[in-house]
Symmetry: C2
Subunit: 180 residues, 2 copies
């Protein structure tokens, strides 16, 4: 499938309500458990998505659209949320994520991006040259990857409870060493 | 985490609204694309979950609770939905899934299952002896695995659009040969 702006915005708009449906009100045993050391719980994922709203997608798009002589992005801090969200509840993070996302999509829409603008270049600090179109495609895939991660991390909490069914449930065994 | 009935029911109740948030109204290009031959699109996943409501979880729980001399389950048909849902819209399947799930959870609640009942045995046609507790745990994990699958399959539609970011997006590459 080729990148298409309106349907990408539609998918991005779905992530906050999807995460609220999955997570709003679940006990901490479900929300705060992870897949092992250095991995994200559902709570961490929502915090990480908030970091993306504040420091990644729109800030990087602005750098590209600024057409400066050095459109290099700031490096992204994957663990900013750990310090940022001490003492927060999952419910408050879900609300905040929904507000930040709505505001960012409003801004994105206000730009009325053209195909030529979607082809403008940026410079990723470790990946090198990228385009605005690739940045926005990555935003969509990143969201969906983390929705998948939340569901997988929750599923794994019952790994010891399914008995012999484990062999029919690849979600329990396909990420023995999770990468996200 | 140990199996616990009320929070399992809570998770099971979240699956229809989660899938509606992700899928209700998305174009067919997102809803009907899959990961390759013999794999499920989001549309197929919702059909497969409906099959579970009609032929798997509650029917098998009834066999166990019937305490007959031969509590062997019917084999489960993973492709029943393909024939069943010809001509259906995704929206109508999402509504139907929500209704079937609500009705099945009401029935499950009406049984007021005791710990002793959760330990009752059934016989899986290929896995052998299982308990009602394992069946219900599997129901929860099966749901979450398919939510993860829907998000992953959608993410993969933009695999060609993210440029060099592909190496930071494990959802695009962790299931080169999907098992579910």
């Amino acid at each position: 499938m080729r990148f298409e702006l309106p349907s990408s915005v539609d998918i991005l708009r779905r992530t906050p309500p999807t995460l609220r449906a999955l997570l709003d009100g679940v006990p901490d045993t479900w929300a705060r458990s992870n897949e092992g050391p250095e991995t994200f719980s559902p709570f961490d994922v929502v915090g990480h998505l908030i970091d993306g709203e504040e420091t990644d997608w729109i800030p990087r798009a602005r750098i590209i659209l600024g057409r400066g002589s050095n459109p290099t992005f700031e490096p992204y801090d994957r663990f900013r949320h750990v310090r940022r969200n001490v003492g927060r509840t999952l419910e408050s993070l879900l609300v905040e994520f929904g507000e930040l996302r709505a505001s960012n999509l409003e801004r994105l829409g206000s730009w009325s991006l053209t195909d030529a603008e979607l082809d403008l270049p940026g410079n990723h600090p470790s990946l090198g040259p990228v385009t605005l179109r690739q940045l926005l495609s990555t935003w969509v895939v990143h969201d969906l990857g983390h929705v998948a991660q939340v569901a997988r991390v929750m599923a794994k909490q019952y790994r010891g409870e399914v008995g012999p069914w484990v062999q029919f449930l690849p979600v329990l065994t396909d990420h023995e060493v999770p990468r996200s």
